[in-house]
Amino acid sequence: MTQTIDPDTGAVRTASKDMAQDKHQHGVLSQALFPQDRFETRHIGPDERETAHMLSALGYKTLDALTDAAVPPDIRMQRALTTPAARSERDALAEVAALAAQNQVWRSYLGLGYHDCVMPPVVQRNVLENPNWYTQYTPYQPEISQGRLEALLNFQTMVRDLTGMEIANASMLDEGTAAAEAMSLALDVAKDKSVHAFFIAADCHPQTIDVVRQRALPLDIEIIVGDPMTFDFKAVKVFGALVQYPSTDGVVRDFHGFCARAHESGATVTVAADLLALCLLESPGHMGADIAVGNSQRFGVPLGYGGPHAAYFATKDAFKRSLPGRLVGVSVDKRGKRALRLALQTREQHIRREKATSNICTAQVLLAVIAGAYGVYHGPHGLRRIAQRVHHLTAVLAEGLRRENKRVRPGLFFDTLRVDMSAAEIARVRAAAESRRINLRAYDDGVGIALDETVSARDVAELLSIFTGRKLEASDVEALGRETKPLEFGDLSRATPYLEHPVFNTHHSESEMMRYLQMLAGRDLSLTTSMIPLGSCTMKLNAAAEMLPITLPGFGRIHPFAPPAQATGYKQLFTDLETWLAEITGFHAVSLQPNAGSAGEYAGLQVIRAYHRERGQKQRDVCLIPHSAHGTNPASAIMAGMKVVVVDCDDHGNVDMDDLKRQVEAHKQDLAALMITYPSTHGVFEATVKEICSLVHAHGGQVYMDGANMNAQVGLTRPGDIGADVCHLNLHKTFCIPHGGGGPGMGPIGVAQHLAAFLPGNPLIKTGGAHAIGAISSAPWGSASILPISWMYIAMMGPDGLKKATQTAILNANYVAKRLSPHYPILYTGAFGLVAHECIIDCRPLKAGGVEVEDIAKRLMDYGFHAPTMSFPVAGTLMIEPTESESLAELDRFCEAMISIRAEAKRVETGAIDAKDNPLKNAPHTMDVVCATEWNHPYSREEAAFPAAWTRERKFWPTTARIDNAWGDRNLMCSCPPPEAYK
């Protein structure tokens, strides 16, 4: 028997360890007496005893009492959430598998930038299904991130080689947004700023055109859609042009002349290119392109009904400072050894804010890692073989169709054909295809067929049967294959080599590949090692049961533009999730389309813009943003065509109400929106938040809530009730989608009723509101295949579990704040001296001894921890967000590391140890440094590498010493360095 504390009443009661057994002894037998394992107790770190201990340390009797003190009463939700009751892991898995089974996996030959492919099982098991890879955060602490940085460098090198460009970034959200970013770059580098038109080839993928069009709208860029072969750059001035290679209906065109004509008129050219086609075709760079973008999905990533997939972005070296997104670069560490880290960060929103090249932060790292691994595993010869095979089968299909007098469109093709047909013939062919569960692309005057890596001779035989009405066998196709030659691409035939680097020519056996992936994973600190207390990032548990559904074929092998009737399981999943998220946020409707928080912000602001315009208030273009906001906010506002006006914060980190009153008054004619994070970026429940929302509304503005800190709200309060009109949710924070080392993310937006009509649409599949704005993402429901993760979380937690998770997140943060407060000042607190779900500790007092916040961050690595968020929102501080998933033991371990580091800093301060040569300044300590014959430091090797007891049992060795960031930015190299550099 153990003593427990009733979480509701605070009463101490004595209970049996095994409730079921206890009640069984009372002789009541029913299903309810044998409850299955409750997921809530697995997700939430502290058990009842630990919770009681922490509450008592804080001086509260119950979680509810703590919550009542921390959260302002006027915003508290007065009822329980109405999401469905908690299901066990087993039951929820069975239910989600049933949803997957409702989806019909047809053969999809739809193309449009999405192709079925084979994820190498060694990659599936060792990367996609491996928490060492998917639970990592963005590699902001490079010394403990060398594995994924190398994997991303492989991706960048592969993209650079195949596209023939000079520099490639570490992924974009999707092909459509990559094309939109290319338009922004083109505008940025354009010499003649008076030109405000952008050309798009009509045979680009329709969803790409829509995403770019929507992006152009608020920036007053005129979009001209036309035929690239006849477009006259002299007659119509444009600053840039976008073409598709091969085109959406499969035509391979030579853009040499097009690029030359564009350059003559001062325009840059973006080529949206298919990476597999580039294994046989000359590259965009070879043809003179300035930018290349595209989707890398077919390099081993499932279709997933639209995502997540890593898009790529490559350009010329001259444009590197205008490049959007994260970029991995090579530098050196303190030992002078090669080391990788994120390069040219000053381009990005977290530093340059409204002047950033883009608002993108979370990208598609895990998917880029997979695509890069696909390149490493197959190597240049393997990729070429795959491309040749797909192309040859397409040539055979074309030949077979032509022999039957089918009108295959003339011209060069890679893997996609377009067949012209009469209306009657179209109807017959489509009916025949449907009876065989095959999707073909529909045109008004024919059909399209795009083949892929998974296609066999039997599939081609089936396709020919559909068109001819005669039954053909694989052997017929094989016979035809012997008579059919692949096309001669002439000048476009790939002569430039690619993937010559040893990394792409070594790991081709499964043993080699498995060990290579394992070696990389071992260099990185993930949640499998220890808590990652990054403030504002919510690094909570990504449960195995949540992850299992994503590899079910019923979720993975659905083409994003397959007829919705084949995806009824997905439809149910979306409906559930939209309903639940609307309930959790207090909103009327939800759009699942945005692929990241940044995309959610952009989408939400576009919705607000459309709303004002609909009401004849097009002059409303001012966006108020508190000084303490995430850099993404101002960057998104600029993309949405708004003017950023900064609102001051007071000494407590709250919005300065006097300044806000001044600003809303000054902008009452042109106020469009206020963007606010809640709880604030300072980790405090601002008591004035309702008043802030009312003020903005009274002056004609809309309130955009940044949902980055939603983990402190679920079940306690709701953005809609507080007064927000739009809010994005980072499903990769609050709702358990893993960070994947920097993506995938999902940033759905919830909106109040008056905005629902404007939720984003899609040109191919009906979605969004009655007056839908254009597409925000390429796919209608964004990264659909990871939505089961959030579905599972909400289903398994139930309303009580969700609320308790939030309360425990607040408890854990306050416990850490309390334990650390004697050693580090806690910078901001709200009512009763409490923080919300994160706390900011002030490290500036340590500067007296010359110890910088960075030294603490690096020293934590020697203790086996990832640093909290550094210097945001205040320089010289650390922001700690423990989340509800960490147990008391893990919280204590982290606190002990921080306290021990404080003592080390004290020794520096008092002069007991050298100010420059000490464990903090030299951190992190790598194995080779600690084990070297020479050791010339005034502290021991033991102090260096084993500063805490637990490090003897579970030592995490950083593989790299402190990295020289500046060296890398001054000597920029963003692809795999030549082999001699490895020695």
Binding site: R321, Q345, T346
Partner: protein, 141 residues
Amino acid sequence: MAETTRPKMMRPDDRRYAETHEWIKPDGDTMIIGITDFAVRELSSGNEGDLVYCDLPEIGRVLKAGETFGEIESVKAVADLNSPVAGEVVEINTSIEEHLEVLSKDPWKEGWLVRIKPDAKSLDKLMDVKAYEAFLAGAKH
């Protein structure tokens, strides 16, 4: 950190200073512009190797007073370069791009950035060295 706790570096009194931490010095018919030791330190947080990039304007560009003509970046920060007066860019310090560490050692002479032909000779609207130092002491940094 308060300005007073920093080691003193003599700031020259032969030029004028802007609130955005540029200096401007008359030199015959032209004037040269640079940034102050304070600006360098704020950008590089005292670590001279942290300056990584400087973007300077094309020769012939005509600048308005206060107009941004370039940027200077450290690993973690970026600052605009603003022209204290109106004029035309006639020369830029091309050697600086490869040797940004010069700015930490000698922001006053060797670390000059651009030379302009000013529209007017007067620098009266800008601060002298005493006023600039008072400005630094008064501002919360």
